[in-house]
Amino acid sequence: MSDKTLTLALMDPPYESANSTTALRIVSAALKKGINVNVFAYEGAVNLPFKDQAPHANPVKGTTVEEEDHPTTKTFVASLLEIGKGSPLLTWMNCGLCVDERGAGNAVDGVKRGGPADFLRMAQESTNTLVIPTK
């Protein structure tokens, strides 16, 4: 178990940018190395763990929901929170005001609510901080 902590700030909403995929890969890789991770989700990124996301069928190809096996970001975030529920620890914090604006309060279990002051504290207490802004 490492004594290091990496903080990420994310801003992109799900299903729009490869940034989200890369961010989740970084979180996964860090947890596998035993590194604690903080995620501060800001603006559209608060929708990444939104619980009401639903996988869909593909009427063009005629495939069912099960056949399509469409990945949702809420599932990825929930899996990462499961991996990071102890040591190493993943703290996923959604910006509260961003959540309220978007009606995105129904998040997967384990997601916390906070504000920019929490991001500052996370950054101050971390080994390093990476901000992944929108383009």
């Binding site: 490492s2 990496l6 940034n19 890369t22 890969r25 890789a29 802004p133």
Partner: protein, 118 residues
């Protein structure tokens, strides 16, 4: 006696370049800044990810990667992004090494490291 690096408090810089240089002309900012920091005797790495890896094809004539390699900057390309875009090892610009997201994490948690996403 403190080394020159310690005396001047030089740092490790990790630039994460996610943008395609043929779509985003401001990728020149990363090349210019990374080169200037390297000239200042800092350790500088540019990690290419997503469409940023499109610059590492040999035939990418407008790429700034050869200049950065010549300046002594460490150039790494995310293997996942490289594979997704069908870039073969033989096609890659000399000086760019295939790397991984795990290696990026190792770079990010080094002491005295500043990380810049572009």
């Amino acid at each position: 006696m403190a080394s020159r690096k310690e005396y001047y408090n030089m740092a490790n810089y990790v630039f994460i370049e996610s943008r395609d240089p043929f779509e985003s002309r401001d990728t020149g900012f990363v090349a210019d800044t990374a080169t200037a920091l390297k000239r200042g005797d800092n350790e500088v790495t540019v990690f290419l990810v997503q469409n940023g890896v499109l610059a590492c094809r040999n035939n990418a004539a407008a790429s700034r990667l050869p200049q950065m390699a010549k300046a002594g900057i460490t150039l790494l390309a995310d293997d996942f992004s490289v594979s997704e875009r069908g870039i073969q090892p033989a096609e890659m610009t000399p000086g760019v090494r295939r790397s991984s997201i795990e290696a990026l994490v190792d770079l990010l948690v080094r002491e005295n490291t500043k990380a810049i996403w572009h």
